[in-house]
């Protein structure tokens, strides 16, 4: 069900504009964290970034299933990508045998988002870490 007003313009936004993350291996599987920059972004992604959408995007890698764990106190999701590493760290012949690049790959996924919501989901300009 689409709750956005029918007149609103929809943009395609790169996940990396709404969230940051990191990936690593767990045997023949990998995990990717997706951490929203804002609460509004977390709530948007909870609807838009389904395990199915992640599985479809990374399907060419031959994964056998995706599980999403939600961490609302961190505005974060943890995606476990089963069987994505073609045998895993010690056996895979791929250049990215340990799934180190999967985080950067997933942040390239494009999602449709309403014009009004987009500014609420983007990272604030101030850098809190500096």
């Amino acid at each position: 069900m689409n709750t956005a007003p029918a007149t609103e313009t929809t943009f395609r936004v790169r996940l990396g504009e709404l969230a940051h993350g990191r990936s690593g291996d767990k045997g023949a599987s990998a995990n990717v964290s997706v951490i929203a920059y804002t609460r509004a972004g977390y709530e948007f992604l909870a609807q838009a970034l389904t395990p199915e959408s992640v599985e479809t995007f990374l399907e060419p890698l031959g994964l056998t299933g995706v599980v999403r764990y939600d961490l609302p106190t961190l505005n974060a999701f943890n995606f476990v990508l089963h069987g994505v590493l073609a045998g895993g760290g010690s056996r895979s012949l791929r250049v990215d045998a340990q799934g180190k690049a999967l985080g950067q790959a997933l942040l390239e996924l494009e999602l449709p988002i309403g014009e009004g919501l987009l500014p609420l989901c983007r990272r604030a300009d101030t850098d809190k870490g500096e």
Partner: protein
């Protein structure tokens, strides 16, 4: 109880910056503990090869050099204590090498605690002959251990904090262990210092999370962060330390004036690094839930981690076993020119075809054109390229097949397309493959042992 307790990490893996421990300690002399993690999943299989050539080897020899680099601090009165899993397959030999280095450096009076008992290879072998087919099943694939029994190389249980705490109680300034659950490097000094009960699961869980956050060294202070490019002076990246409070909460930070960045973003990324179900992160001493965890920026490069919950641990230890799994090699060749990806793929086909015709068809092979979407194959559209790096990997149970491959790449320098270049690394090196075999063992089958050596 004195707080905070300051625990640093200056080695995230075997091969990390060798000068990091001494650098961190000179930047942050108030550190109480320095933890150094050397063991990845299959590191012990590499150490097993070293021990076959020399019975006195089988540990991270780099650690002895680290100890040498720390000797001046101890000579000058530093009370810092070091906890490491550098002992690998041979903690005693590692500790003896450290003792020798410390005597040479004039550090009399120090004590080294040695933790052993994690090696369960003999137990696995003995029990596999029994009737229970469920024992030591592969946690990922469900396969029976009998399928790899003859090829088992190592099997080590991830020990918990108890033997490390015992070593600290017996006055160890340095604790050398083999396989330990990585966060144990941090939970043990907390339990020792604050006197937490073994069933104080929330606090032990909080310390486990603190350990998890710093166990990969610079990964929480700017390394591999999404915003890496924005961080200052990564050439002098500060290694992290946690300020632990008696209630289990902690602040993650790094020394003043160092490069990199500790932010809410870097801490969250590392908190979820290599995690499965965040409600059930298992360690030998506690089952951790991250479901109520909060991460809060307190100031520049200071981030608190709060609200971690814990419950009773499982009755088993996780075991990391490795088994021989044939051989492999990888070779690379740079190509430039029109239709470069087609040319590179053709080169890959030629190498494999020549192996087939010679009767050495490999069991598995992979041809990749780096630059053309090889890292996540098929996920992105292939771009138009003028240059690529051809990477070929082959694997086979027979060493001679992989050796044949290592001789088939160079001939392309003259028989391949125009624009083949950059073949300067020599023939691909044939390497043994070690399969990873995660399984469980009942805790009562494992007996950790602590010894203390006086310098």
């Amino acid at each position: 109880m004195r707080e905070p307790l300051r625990i640093g990490n200056a080695q995230g893996f075997w091969g990390d910056a060798p000068d990091a421990p001494a650098r961190l300690l000179s930047q942050q002399p108030s550190l109480d503990y320095l933890t150094l993690d050397y063991l990845a999943e299959v590191s012990l299989s590499i150490m097993a090869q070293q021990r076959k050539r020399n019975p006195e080897a089988g540990y991270a020899a780099d650690f002895v050099e680290v100890v040498r680099s720390l000797a001046p601090f101890w000579r000058n009165g530093s009370k810092v204590r070091v906890i490491t899993n550098a002992g690998g397959l041979n903690p005693k030999a590692c500790a003896e090498a450290c003792a020798l280095a410390l005597r040479e450096a004039g550090c009399e009076g120090l004590r080294i605690g040695v933790v052993t008992g994690d090696d369960v290879l003999a137990t696995l072998r003995a029990q596999c002959d029994g009737a229970d087919p469920e024992l030591f099943r592969n946690l990922e694939t469900g396969a029976s251990i009998r399928t790899v029994l003859d090829d088992l190389e190592t099997a080590n249980a991830y020990l918990g904090a108890r033997p490390v705490v015992e070593a600290l109680e017996r006055g160890a300034d340095i604790v050398v262990a083999g396989r330990l659950s990585d966060p144990t490097l941090v939970t043990a000094p907390c339990i020792h210092h604050f006197g937490w009960a073994w069933d104080d699961y929330n606090r032990i869980a909080a310390a486990t999370v603190a350990g998890h956050i710093i166990e990969c060294g610079a990964q929480v202070s700017g390394g591999i962060a999404t915003r890496w490019l924005d961080f200052p002076d990564m050439a002098d990246v500060g290694f992290p330390f946690v300020e632990m409070r008696a209630d289990g909460s902690c602040c993650v930070t790094k020394p003043e004036g160092t490069g990199g960045c500790v932010s809410e973003e870097t801490v969250k990324e590392q908190l979820l690094y290599e995690i499965g179900d965040p409600a059930q992160y298992l360690s030998p001493d506690v089952c951790v839930s991250l479901m109520t965890t909060r991460v809060q920026q307190e100031g520049p490069n200071r981030v608190s981690v709060l609200g971690v919950r814990g419950s009773a641990p499982p009755s088993t230890y996780k075991v990391s076993a490795t088994h021989r799994d044939g051989f492999w090699a990888q070779g690379m060749l740079t190509l430039f020119g029109r239709d470069v990806v087609k040319k590179a793929r053709r080169c890959g086909e030629i190498v494999l075809e020549r192996m087939r015709r010679a009767g050495y068809a490999p069991e598995r092979s992979q041809v990749e054109c780096i630059g053309a979407g090889a890292v996540v194959p098929g996920v992105f559209d292939e771009p138009e390229l003028l240059e690529t790096v051809l990477r070929i990997g082959v694997a086979d149970p027979r060493r001679e097949v992989v050796e044949r491959f290592s001789r088939e790449l160079a001939p392309l320098v003259t028989a391949g397309p125009q624009g083949v270049t950059g073949f300067s690394a020599g023939r691909p090196r044939v390497q043994a493959v070690f399969g990873y075999w995660p399984c469980l063992i009942e805790k009562n089958e494992v007996t950790p042992v602590v010894e203390v050596i006086e310098i």
